[in-house]
Symmetry: C2
DNA sequence: ACTCTCTGTAAGTCGTAGCTTACGGTAAGT
DNA sequence: ACTTACCGTAAGCTACGACTTACAGAGAGT
């Protein structure tokens, strides 16, 4: 059920902005916070949440922490989405082939 | 940015349970609420949110409302995930090919 | 040693999301 | 017409999550 964590974490808009900033490549916290409408500690907290969900990884470089995307963290969410996609299609087909024998009694 | 709505809506666990119940096929509100740990009005509110995000659709059948999954509602989220997936891979490759010319001065 | 930069964490505030109970409205059965 | 089943919405409460300010530690330079 780890895709649930990914969903909860990615639900917040500003946290998604933080995540998006890592899309192009690794960045330090200051660089991420620059341009964002929130304070730097807020960004730190978001990064902590993202890391706990396995969506980013951290690497120390001197006094600064470099964060980067961890792709495997998205895998479960992708799988869940795909399985849902397929099941929904199958359910739809099953529904369409019902031989008009609904509970809706003529009328 | 409609994938943002999908994320916020699917972030809540019980709302995800509601959504999951529609995976197998269409259901009425009572049927969905049965077995869930929350009251029926709560389920109604969740369905309203899901519908607003385009994730489910509603159909009237007598006095009962039949809800079903709307697959297109998941499309944007899937696309976003995939694009993120690809970009993160590219960024990773770019990073790996950096000619050792880091700021990390030998040592 | 001193300082400056970069960062994580603690404490506290405030808005909002999710829940419940209560109510109203509509379709169908008798 | 009356009742019963099914459902949506309003109002209100509560818990939690996102943010800010303040503080502490660790590394690099002088």
């Amino acid at each position: 059920m780890t895709y649930g964590n990914a969903l909860t974490v990615l639900a917040d808009p500003t946290r998604r902005q933080v995540f998006e900033r890592l899309r192009a490549g690794p960045h330090a916290v200051n660089a991420i916070a620059a341009g964002l409408p929130v304070s730097r500690p807020a960004v730190s907290q978001h990064l902590k949440a993202l890391k706990a969900a396995g969506l980013v990884q951290e690497r120390s470089e001197g006094v600064r922490r470099i964060y980067s995307v961890r792709r495997e963290g998205l895998a479960d969410l992708r799988d869940w989405l795909d399985s849902f996609w397929d099941d929904a299609l199958e359910a739809f087909k099953r529904e369409a082939e019902k031989p008009t024998a609904k509970k809706t009694r003529s009328r």
